[in-house]
């Protein structure tokens, strides 16, 4: 057996040092076990994974392309042939919902990604630099908070859809992703800043500083890794908000255009038919609900699992 280099701090050396042969668990493993113990969280996670798979494999899962209309098969109730029924021009609702989930997830993930791109660096900068940077970021956060989120999004998307800078704002899907991303970074920013401010005062940071590490090294090696767990939770919980926002804006007619399927728009258009063709609104609404619930439960579970106070 080759000689194993023993580095301080890993589980293997604990076994080597104590001679018990049992290795201790890393924090990640502990958190994972805590997570798995919560049934609701696990259910949520499974739901999310399932929906992600549906979103990724949509072209293979959907029986037909989402824009394939079969006029003669219009308005069919759910049956073996059409599990979710067909809409007034013969779109297969199962295909529409599957692709709608794909749209929701694409928009949701991208929007959250944009929020992270904006919010996390801003929060990091505010927490680390303090002084004027902190002041400026906080004021910006206050301005954003002053606007009711969805109203601001409605305003922004109306502006963006009206043809302003049309070379940049080319497709409705991009537009809505951009708008949601740009209006939901505030929470992430504040969280990041709060994390940094709290962690900055911890003893190991003082220790690191006293051994001569510079600010950047401290930020990268100590602050960021410890700030990650709550950020994971926040990002996970930002997903359902983004999905719901997309559904809401499309419901209002401001988001995705036909024939690209959007769950929110499907729900909106089903209103006129609800007395007769109930399935037109039911399945899209169910899909939205499952997506939002899945992420919410998963996020809750993650929060409980990653919170060190509960060790």
């Amino acid at each position: 057996m080759a000689e194993q280099t023993v580095r301080a701090g890993t589980p293997r050396d604990f076994a080597a040092l104590t001679g018990t042969g049992k290795r201790s668990r890393t924090n990640a493993e502990l958190a994972f076990r805590r997570f798995m113990r919560q049934k609701l969280a696990v259910a949520g996670a499974l739901l999310v994974i399932l929906l992600c798979l549906v979103a990724v494999f949509a072209p293979w899962l959907a029986p037909t392309h989402y824009a394939k209309a079969d006029l003669l098969a219009a308005n069919q109730f759910p049956s073996w042939e059409y599990p979710f029924g067909t809409d007034p021009i013969g779109y297969n609702m199962l295909s529409r919902v599957v692709y709608g989930i794909r749209t929701s997830f694409t928009v949701g993930l991208s929007a959250v990604f944009i929020s992270c791109l904006i919010g996390i660096p801003l929060g990091l900068a505010a927490g680390l630099r303090g002084g004027f940077t902190d002041f400026a970021v906080l004021r910006l956060v206050e301005v954003m908070t002053a606007f009711p989120g969805i109203l601001f999004a409605i305003f922004l998307i109306s502006v963006v859809n009206s043809g302003v800078m049309s070379s940049f704002f080319r497709s409705p899907t991009f537009n809505i992703t951009f708008v949601i991303g740009v209006t939901s970074w505030v929470g992430l920013c504040r969280l990041m800043r709060a994390q940094i401010l709290t962690l900055r005062e911890r003893e190991y940071i003082t220790a690191a500083r006293s051994t001569g590490a510079n600010e950047l090294q401290i930020a990268v090696r100590h602050l960021l890794p410890n700030a990650v767990p709550p950020m994971i939770v926040a990002v996970t919980l930002a997903m359902p908000a983004a999905i719901f926002a997309e559904a809401g804006l499309s419901f209002l007619g401001l988001g995705i255009n036909e024939p690209v399927p959007s769950l929110g728009k499907m729900v909106a258009d089903s209103g006129t038919y609800i007395q007769l063709y109930w399935y037109l609104g039911f399945f899209p609404a169910l899909a939205i609900a499952l997506a939002v619930l899945g992420f919410a439960f998963m996020g809750d579970g993650l929060r409980d699992a990653l919170d060190p106070r509960q060790t």
Partner: protein
């Protein structure tokens, strides 16, 4: 969307991560709000019965101008309720903005036009007790009925029409219907759309002037215009005094409202309803309505059917397909379904022929051959319309549907080959298209989605649907150059003459197509004073040019379906000369005799 905690520099991890309950509460609350608001239609929440103001007005109404039949509700309950699109209804006067009125419900009741029509589209005197044209057909004199008064005490005279037409022509007003009189009224085009380099004329130079007496209106035209009296169905005047004192929007506020018609504006609750009540100062007029109040309920079209089922409205047009299925499934409710010719509307896709790729006729022809109208009729339209291959609807003068049906016929193979010849085999490299829709109803959305799907399937071109508000669409359409590259819209007749429908496609009109041959043929036929049969043939030649050049793909001729409650009674619903029963176009307005042919039966629900 972001979490909104109170800010503090002393933050703990706990405080920043929101509590489980709050977050769930927010999500749950939002979900509940969306479910409630969305599923049931935000507008049906507002169960708007009459308000206090209306009740007091109603109590004061004790009679109708016409004696009420035995089975009628008492005079104070004679209220007709119809819905209008919440986002569209902004004004009530034709000469303020045509496409911003609640025309589906009721409008233009605050003055009488020069002429009106009955359910057989026959012209009758209204404000004008008689009229005559000169030998050359270019000077028309209308004798205004004496004794008509505005509710502010001023008499109705020819001055009011002159002021109104000048307002319509005023470039500062940017009226959305100026194209209608272009090439007809003298100097109108020179004012609203002056030619390049020519000096623009001013509104006071148009050919509408007071004649020998204040009760004589003289209208001069650019060409012989035998159809002019019929065109002047659209001549509800605004009050000259009102225009000068308050401004053209005097009818948007009950306090400044002035009327010379049988009704006056008594209430306008924004986004809720508009109420017109019997004008007690209506004198010298020609209408004797039995209805004493009209309520225009402002709501999103998606909610109208639910409102109809709850007896909140008495009538609406173009129910969505599912609603129609529901109504027809029951014997009793099936009796409330009526179908008529409406205003002989034709629904069509139009192109901006000055822009690529639609400047290539092969592309346009390909599109015209890619639509399966038979399938559309069978699967989507049902009783709402019939297939259209040409512009003039069946029953309209000069219509030649059969003869024209082979030009824009459904032929997917030809469509594909034409598109390939144009340089886009199988739609490759064809730019993705956006089809503009004008405030689409559920039926319009379904039809448009079906059309997009057919284009995709038969030509391989991607078409996205863009739903636009009525004003935005109309403004974009009318701007010069037009801002709509591809759209789907309808046009219905204004008066029963082929010149009317065909004039929509004249150069300088609302579409960018400009064909001198077509213009010449249409204008020549319009002014032709000879043999009527020959005139019809000339119009048909013109239509052929239109259909062949494909500035638009004609989709269907609407036969609007209407839902009418059984307590709307009277002569209006009796069959017309063709046996058709419906609430005839143009509906409950001073332009139509319907206004005095309707009453509310005693079995109507109480609306107080």
């Amino acid at each position: 969307m972001g979490s909104t905690n109170g800010d503090s520099n002393e933050v703990t991890l706990d405080g920043v991560l929101e509590h489980r309950s709050t977050r769930r509460g927010v999500l749950g609350g939002a979900a509940a709000m969306f479910a409630a608001g969305g599923m049931f239609g935000i507008n049906t929440w507002r169960s708007s019965g009459a308000s206090a103001a209306t009740s007091s007005v109603r109590r004061a109404i004790t009679t109708s101008l016409q004696e009420l039949p035995a089975d009628a509700a008492p005079a104070e309950k004679q209220m007709f309720v119809a819905p209008a699109n919440l986002t569209t209804a902004k004004v009530l006067d034709f000469y303020e903005a045509v496409y911003e009125r609640p025309s589906d419900a009721s409008s233009d009741v605050f003055s009488e036009p020069l002429v009106r029509i009955n359910k057989n589209f026959e012209l009758q005197p209204a404000s004008a007790e008689s009229w005559s044209g000169s030998e050359d057909g270019m000077t028309w004199t209308f004798k205004i009925r004496e004794g008509m008064m505005w509710s502010d005490g001023n008499p109705v005279t020819a001055e009011d029409w002159v002021a109104t037409f000048r307002y319509g022509a005023d470039p500062a007003h940017a009226w959305d219907f100026t194209w209608f009189f272009q090439g007809v009224l003298k100097n109108w085009s020179a004012v609203v759309a002056p030619a390049e380099g020519a000096t623009a004329m001013t509104p006071d130079q148009i050919g509408v002037a007071v004649g020998a007496t204040p009760y004589e209106l003289v209208v001069t035209t650019e060409v012989p215009a035998p159809y002019l009296p019929a065109m002047l169905l659209y001549s509800n005047p605004l009050s000259k005094v009102g225009l000068e004192t308050t401004g053209p929007l005097y009818n948007t506020n009950p306090e400044t409202a002035i009327s010379a018609g049988p009704y006056i504006l008594t209430e306008w609750q924004k986004d809720q309803h508009i109420i017109y009540s019997k004008n007690e100062k209506y004198v010298g007029g020609t209408l004797k309505p039995m209805i004493n109040q009209v309520m225009v309920k402002l709501a999103a079209p998606d909610t109208w059917f639910t409102m109809y089922q709850n007896n909140e409205i008495d009538f609406f047009e173009a129910p969505p397909p599912a609603a129609l299925t529901l109504m027809m499934s029951d014997e009793t409710t099936a009796k409330e379904v009526y179908s008529g010719v409406g205003d002989f509307p034709t629904w069509y896709i139009f192109f901006d022929v000055t822009l690529a790729p639609f400047n290539d006729i092969k592309v346009r022809q390909a599109w015209s051959h890619a639509i399966d109208r038979d399938l559309l009729k069978e699967a989507v339209l049902g009783p709402n319309g019939t297939q259209a291959y040409s512009w003039l609807a069946p029953g309209f003068p000069a219509s030649q549907r059969e003869a024209m049906s082979t030009i824009q016929n459904f032929d997917p193979a030809m469509a594909k080959s034409l598109l390939a010849e144009a340089g886009f085999p199988d739609g490759k490299d064809f730019p993705k298209q956006q089809l503009w829709l004008r405030a689409p109803s559920p039926l319009d959305k379904t039809v448009a989605a079906a059309l997009a799907s057919m284009i995709n399937e038969n030509l391989g071109i991607e078409v996205e649907l863009l739903e636009k508000a009525q004003q935005d669409f109309t403004a974009a359409l009318n701007s010069k150059p037009t801002q709509i590259p591809l759209g789907y819209v309808r046009y219905g007749m204004d008066f029963l003459d082929p010149f009317n429908m065909l004039s929509v496609w004249l150069s300088g009109g609302r579409h960018s197509w400009s064909n001198p041959d077509y213009d010449a043929k249409v204008l020549e036929a319009a002014s032709f004073l000879g043999d009527p049969a020959e005139r019809v043939a000339m119009f048909q030649e013109a239509e052929k040019v239109l259909v062949t050049d494909v500035p638009g793909v004609f989709i269907y001729h609407g036969t609007p379906v209407q839902l009418i409650k059984p307590w709307l009674k009277g002569e209006f619903i009796a069959p017309d000369a063709n046996g058709i029963t419906s609430l005839h176009w143009p509906g409950f307005t001073a332009m139509s005799t319907v206004t005095q042919e309707m009453y509310i039966g005693a079995d109507a629900p109480d609306r107080s």
